[in-house]
């Protein structure tokens, strides 16, 4: 009997593409992100100038040998400012987005898989939280607990968690209806296996895309907080506050405005490129 299997069942082995590789854009994104993370770690030590070294003659100075990226509204070297701001922007934003996305997704998975009252309670709490503007929440939190970096991370992370939860939950509800999840249930699998092994891999792509977007929003929120004097406190500054504090230089065409903006742009675009590179890795579909 064994030999009588229809030969048509098995198509000839097709040449296969290597499965795990990043696209060129993804690779470029990863390089830029890697660069900024490195700068966040060692940047402050590389900065040529001290944080307080002002020069009244160099206010909004153009790019020169002495000021490779120009100078800010107090005549401080922009290169140093950016390198010193890197840990705040990269570190705080990244940590906060991790809190928001990982926390939101994990909560969503359990809520969707458990269902019942747990899902209801968590979803309603999240709905309530969604009705509070993030900035207002941050304001209250900072007023109550001060603006230490861990407080900032938690505040922003929790502020952006409801959005991540909502997106992940709607994905999880869809994935959960798939037959392979039901097959796992019928097999008697536990909640942990079903959520992390069966469901999560199939929602990773949109969740990661959301992660990239959320990172962007968080960078913006952090700079907003800094502008209000609630974020990173002067003289230290994250990139967002660098843009804000130098905004008057815009009319003079000072590089001090555009340079931190470029830094933010390269970071956020690179994060998104890298994530698309991971997630967009096309599976070979069809037969």
């Amino acid at each position: 009997m064994r030999s009588s299997a229809p030969p048509s069942v098995v198509p000839p082995e097709a040449p296969r593409k290597p499965r795990r590789h990043l696209s060129v854009a993804g690779l470029a994104g990863a390089v830029v992100v890697g660069f900024w993370i490195l700068m966040a770690l060692i940047g402050p030590w590389l900065a040529p100038d001290d944080i307080g070294s002002m020069n009244g003659d160099a206010v909004f100075a153009p790019i020169s040998a002495h000021y490779p990226l120009g100078a800010d509204f107090l005549g401080r070297d922009m290169l140093s400012r950016i390198l010193q701001g890197a840990p705040y922007t990269v570190g705080v934003a990244l940590a906060a987005v991790l809190v928001a996305s990982v926390g939101g997704t994990a909560l969503a998975l359990f809520a969707a898989a458990r269902g019942g009252w747990f899902d209801n309670v968590v979803s309603r709490i999240v709905d309530v939280q969604l009705s509070i503007p993030t900035k207002l929440l941050a304001l209250i939190m900072v007023a109550a607990f001060g603006s230490a970096v861990p407080v900032l991370i938690l505040t922003v992370g929790i502020g952006y968690m409801p959005g991540a939860f909502r997106i992940a939950r709607s994905l999880a509800v869809n994935v959960q209806a798939m037959e392979y999840v039901q097959a796992a249930r019928a097999r008697g699998e536990g909640l942990g296996y079903i959520t992390f092994h069966e469901m999560l891999p199939n929602m990773l792509r949109p969740v990661l895309a959301d992660f990239g977007l959320r990172f962007l929003f968080i960078v913006l929120l952090l700079s907003g907080l800094s502008f209000l004097g609630l974020g990173v406190q002067p003289p230290a500054a994250d990139w967002g506050s660098l843009v804000r504090e130098n905004i008057i230089g815009l009319s003079e065409g000072a590089p001090a405005v555009i340079v931190p903006a470029i830094a933010i742009a390269t970071l956020t675009i690179a994060v998104n490129m890298m994530i698309d590179g991971f997630a967009g890795r096309k599976r070979r579909g069809g037969e």
Binding site: V10, K17, R284
Partner: protein, 614 residues
Amino acid sequence: MNEIVKVSGLRVTARNDLDEEVNIVHDAHFSINKGEVLALIGESGSGKSTIALALMGYARAGCRLAGGTVSVAGHSMLVLGERELAGLRGRKVAYIAQSAAASFNPSKRLMDQVIESALIHQVMPRAAAEAKAVQLFRELALPDPEHIGQRYPHQVSGGQLQRLMAAMALITDPDLVILDEPTTALDVTTQIEVLRAFKKVVQERGSTAVYVSHDLAVVAQMADRIVVLRDGQIRENGLTEQILSAPAHPYTRSLLAAIAPKTRPAGDQSKVAQARPLLEVRGLGAVYGSGKGGAPVKRVLEDIDLVIPRGATIGVIGESGCGKTTLARTIAGMVAPSAGQLLLDGEPLAPTLEGRTRDQFRRIQFVFQNADTALNPRHSIERILGRPLEFYHGMQGSARRKRVLELLDLVKLPATVAERQPGELSGGQKQRINLARALAAQPDLILCDEVTSALDTVVGAAILELMAELRKELNVSYMFISHDINTVRAICDEIVVLYAGRKVEARKREALSLPPFHPYSHLLISSVPALRRGWLEEVEGRTPSALPALEATGEARGLCPFIDRCALRVDGVCNRQPPPRQLLENGGSILCHHTDLELRNLQSPLRLVEGEVA
């Protein structure tokens, strides 16, 4: 020569994953005379739909009409521009798609959609088009032809929608109608009505048609000529009679052979009889909706009794929505029953997943209908098969790997498949993996939910073959759910017929093709197209045109669920009292007021002649 369609040297190419252009249709030649119905037949991926679409000068995204000529009613479809093609489509060539439900706009009235093409092409004014549509509705035997056009798509049934789509196609009197698997998604009892309507319209109007299908028996009713396709090439082109009775190409022969699967010997009866039944289902009921807060309760299953002996195969058949999948899910614990009891080896089973032990999980395995969604697309085959081994048997490392390869061998797949992901396998291969995953648990009972219905005939027949073989080797029991009586007949020892959540009949396989039948089973069995010409006309003669009149049905619970469609219903009995469950001489039982003898007398003149290949 009054050729309407002439196709010569047609070549269609598509880009594959590696971005190379490959031929999906090569060098197709055929022609259709006026008034002729040509069938394109083949399995999925054989290029039949691609050819049908090429007749409209259309290629699906990623495909390209690369060469040859296609002329339809004097127009050369491959050289015309988009504008000219748009002028022809819907007027000279019309298309009826497989899924009417997906083809209608849910927010527009049916009439507006049916006459749309006539208005777009300005063939006739609106009033004339509407009058013609009503006339077509009548010809297509749609209920209430005057007013059905005022409804919305969700207000009519699937079979009616399919016929409305035919009306849409025929409204402009096209030179060519293309029917792309128009009845594949329908139940057999509905399919027969649709086929009858199609045939009547095509004959009366003398339409020229291309009928695309994978089902030879259906095609035998409709087509004058059949073109057999495989891998994009025409294998055989001949008159229907010749293809059915004297197929020339070996592939056509294998198709014919797959349609009537060989019946296999039943499970070892002596062994079956002595052992305690593996699974017993007693008085099982299931409902959807809680009934709390005014939520409606839908009874999906009512009072189901079932006994599955060890090593036996029980078939469950019924139309879509009859509760057969819910039955399997209830047994698997995925749906909590509202009433009744499940006994596994005499031990009561917990109604839901939570109360069951891992060993109970292991012993009952569920094989899902659709292998595309039942296998996690992100897991490798090795992981999919390895998980139950690890989960139930604690296998690790090389022992697990070895067992995975054994399982692959058991379902006749090469070891190289192990590293692939489900998306890289064909439908038949995925279904084999699906089955192998259930086997990995070494279960006693496998619940198979329509495992072959998504597969091509030949591939499905191979899966059935495999399952029958495995049963012999491993002594597992199957509960085999299907809407296709031929499939069930080929593999099952006992057959249970469900209708609207009630078990209306149970019968042993040996008695399958002999009366008495429950009236519903009879309708079901006689609706399966036979593989010979003229079957459709014969059935038409057999089916009574009107059902016996009934006074208003009483509200009493437990009345016969089939009363609305039953040709043998008796006024004053069927609408007054719940039907009794009667034991039949052939070892089966039915839920009907008629006695064994009455049914035998009523049904004997209508003796079935299905099953034989003409």
